[in-house]
Symmetry: C2
Subunit: 496 residues, 2 copies
């Protein structure tokens, strides 16, 4: 049976994939429960798994199976796509040296740990040598990959997160945003002056915030027998197959932010839990790149949970759990709070309108870092300059400036732009849902998320990585990514 | 340089060792924080790591390095012992088939998960097919190993836990105990009638119990920046290198048991944290078998923490944290409680005198199960018969009977006897300390554990696996394991 070669390839890949799953748990552990000083051992464990998976991936047997599988005619669509994805991963890994991988893993692990300290101490200088080493190593990696992929250094790193993405495409879209957002922002700021909003400054115990978060997670469709909610410095969604773990951070003086953070990560978690079981541990069964992943979190956060309808559904629970009452806890005021626009420092807490500007700043800086146009020590100055240009404000310290995000310090480059692309996808997807389920907003306001989730499962989650993100959006909405849906969404929400 | 072959062997072993470390974290995760239904993925991850480490261990390159290293003259004691230990592991693994390892890993993982349900439902029948499969597979393994080690089936499984142990040696020691304990037990029960003891039935909030546990752990010398305390169904000490995680279970109506549970596991954890850093990730740097591991936990629990002196030190903290007062919270009453002897059902909660009898029951049953003398479905009847014979009581249900322990259901056989051997070692070690530090009890009553811990570190922990447990006790105390120290300890404590 010729087909056996393909089956063998799947089995071999499963072994590697299960190492990734294990790393998912170790990463979660590092960020949530690991004792402070157990870093060295953890770095050793993760580096070991990383190097091992790399070694297994570029094994000659994998290549033999790929070559022989390519000659099989009777592969299904899923199998053919799976073969293609494994082959790409093989070629990229084959081109990389084990020692480089090891060095990168060690350097990023140490840099990330140092970042936690540097950020706490608001000390950029102390992170510089760590980040320099990370960037130097990732540039070497990018150079090798760029030859295989025939692209620029930065585009080679973009490829880690999204298959068919390049900086030309991003520049086109981001330029459209730059030509729209700043003027729009002014209009919104002006428009909002008329609206009376009552700020909520009540201190809310974090246990109650957690209780509310868990309750709403369940309502949306998150099953806690397959996942967790914990606390970490930088919120994320991780874990492993059918074990989807999200984290958040609480601020007693600002439940508003923590709550949306939880709902955002829930969007990620639902995607992971909805992936096709039949293709588990295979690349074709994995989530698509980060653009689609972000589309799922932002769909949940921005399209669904920041809507008046959702807040109308949620406000009685908020009042009940927090034991609060009065006009400021009513849906219309909560909606005003959640759609209030104001230039601010922290990306993850930014409003929907200014958020893309935060992303564009990071995109410009990281592209220049990788392409060698700027130096690490220049980051704070450039950061602050862009903040001034795009948002009109300058952070007082690094904690609220260039040390705020874990990315870069954990070795991640090319991730940031996918946040905003995800927002555009989310808007386009929600516009489609509204066309086929005209009463979707009514369902949301009643707390009925079943049809919504079923639709996402069927159209997005269950598709795994069968097609790329361009094809996916086209298959679902009938057209390519179109920034107009996002613009329309913003205009509807913020100038109405 | 010939020596390179040995260094290469160390590096190769390190890769395998780091997989064990990773498994340590995954095991901890499974028992403490893993979502209920994420079992399947976890089983896949653990099986994958297990099979992989097995494959790496029996790799031809390892064998080449071993053979070539054996010809090197200039290896140090540590290196020579390390080589010997790696070789033994190689030979044992070499004899085992990957598919068998895989089957065992899968079967034990499933059985353990089912045990949690069966125990909760007090349903022995539901576990029978799972345990039968586990035993069938482990017998196949034992048969293969017994040929390599030239021993009986059960002795082959004993070897998993302790290097130089066999059932003849255990029978000799256990027969000595059987000829001493039952009569001694009667004497103690009679003697204790005279003593007035005030039972503590106060409900103590588990948060306060945890606070007390943490406080005393720290006092003894546990550093929380290298470890954790959590809750699990079955208390254990796990984790990884410099990441020592213990668990306990709390009972609001019985802080007495939870507290000693915590202190017991702390003994294990301190051993792990005290291992020689220079030999980390090598078998020679690892903890010795479970006999010595248990000696460390029982040293802490039985020799140190159940002493009048320790309770004299601890009682003010207990009173303060629990906000309690009165005669029953004073050291002399606490000491009476902690040395109160009464035949009971649950091994982990048993007193020091009856505990060995619990162990002997399990030893007899598991030996017979592995040697094929009894069947799984017969366990409850045999269990109850032994309980009646040795302890004079019969459990009302399986939860308090043969379903109480995780061992067997997690695939572990040959572990139980090491508990009692550990108790004998602990008594012999403490007798030695008393000889060289005559005021050790005074130090304990003042909460000064530094000399005690330093002595353990130097004489036990830092020795890693440089010699076997027979040699270790001889090196430290000048004689072989001698049951008389345990007997003397019991007589001193319980008939005084």
């Amino acid at each position: 049976m010729k087909n056996n070669y393909y089956k063998e390839l799947e089995l071999k890949y499963k072994e590697i994939s299960l190492l990734y799953e294990t790393m998912g748990i170790l990463h979660w552990d590092s960020s949530t429960v690991m004792p402070k000083k157990s870093i060295d051992g953890r770095t050793d464990q993760l580096t070991n798994l990383y190097v091992l998976s790399h070694k297994m991936l570029k094994d000659k047997n994998i290549y033999d199976c790929i070559r022989k599988s390519e000659k099989i005619n009777k592969l299904s669509n899923w199998e053919r796509r799976n073969l293609k994805l494994i082959k790409k991963e093989y070629i990229l890994n084959k081109s990389l040296d084990k020692r480089l991988i090891e060095k990168i893993s060690h350097a990023t692990s140490k840099c990330e740990m140092q970042w936690r300290v540097s950020k706490e101490n608001n000390d950029f200088k102390s992170i510089v040598p760590f980040l320099e080493e990370v960037i130097e190593l990732r540039k070497i990696e990018a150079k090798i990959k760029s030859k295989v992929l025939k692209c620029s250094l930065y585009d080679a790193l973009l490829n880690d997160h999204e298959d068919d993405l390049n900086s030309n495409k991003i520049d086109t879209i981001f330029n459209q945003l730059i030509s729209f957002l700043p003027d729009f922002l002014k209009e919104v700021l002006n428009y909002q002056k008329k609206k009376k909003l009552i700020h909520i400054k009540d201190k809310i115990n974090t246990n109650l915030q957690e209780e509310l978060g868990r309750m709403l997670m369940k309502k949306i469709g998150f099953d806690f027998s397959y996942g967790r909610l914990d606390v970490s410095m930088h919120p994320f969604c991780g874990g492993a197959y059918q074990d989807s773990r999200i984290t958040t951070r609480y601020n007693e003086k600002n439940f508003v932010e923590s709550l949306m953070g939880v709902l955002h990560e829930t969007g990620h978690a639902l995607y992971n839990l909805g992936l096709p079981n039949k293709w588990k541990y295979q690349p074709v069964g994995d989530a698509l790149g980060t653009v689609v992943h972000e589309s799922q979190s932002l769909f949940m956060e921005m399209q669904v949970c920041r809507s008046y309808e959702f807040l109308n559904f949620a406000s009685p629970f908020i009042r009940k759990i927090f034991k609060k009452n009065g006009i400021k806890w009513r849906a219309d005021n909560l909606y005003k709070i959640y759609t209030s626009v104001k230039p601010s420092f922290i990306r993850v807490d930014a409003d929907e309108v200014t958020y893309p500007l935060h992303v564009i700043i990071r995109y410009k800086i990281e592209k220049d870092l990788i392409e060698g146009n700027i130096k690490v020590k220049e980051i704070p100055i450039i950061w602050n300059k862009y903040m001034k240009d795009f948002l009109g404000i300058v952070p007082k310290n690094h904690k609220e400036g260039c040390l705020q995000d874990i990315h870069w310090f954990d070795g991640t480059f090319g991730y940031f732009p996918t946040y905003t692309l995800g927002a555009l996808y989310a808007a386009q997807l929600f516009a489609k849902i509204k066309r086929i389920m005209p009463n979707i907003n009514k369902q949301i306001s009643k707390g009925n998320f079943k049809n919504l989730l079923d639709w996402l499962r069927l159209n997005v989650h269950l598709k795994g990585s069968l097609c790329n993100s361009n094809e996916l959006i086209k298959n679902i909405t009938g057209e390519e990514l179109n920034i107009e849906y996002f613009k329309k969404h913003l205009i509807n929400r913020y100038l109405n």
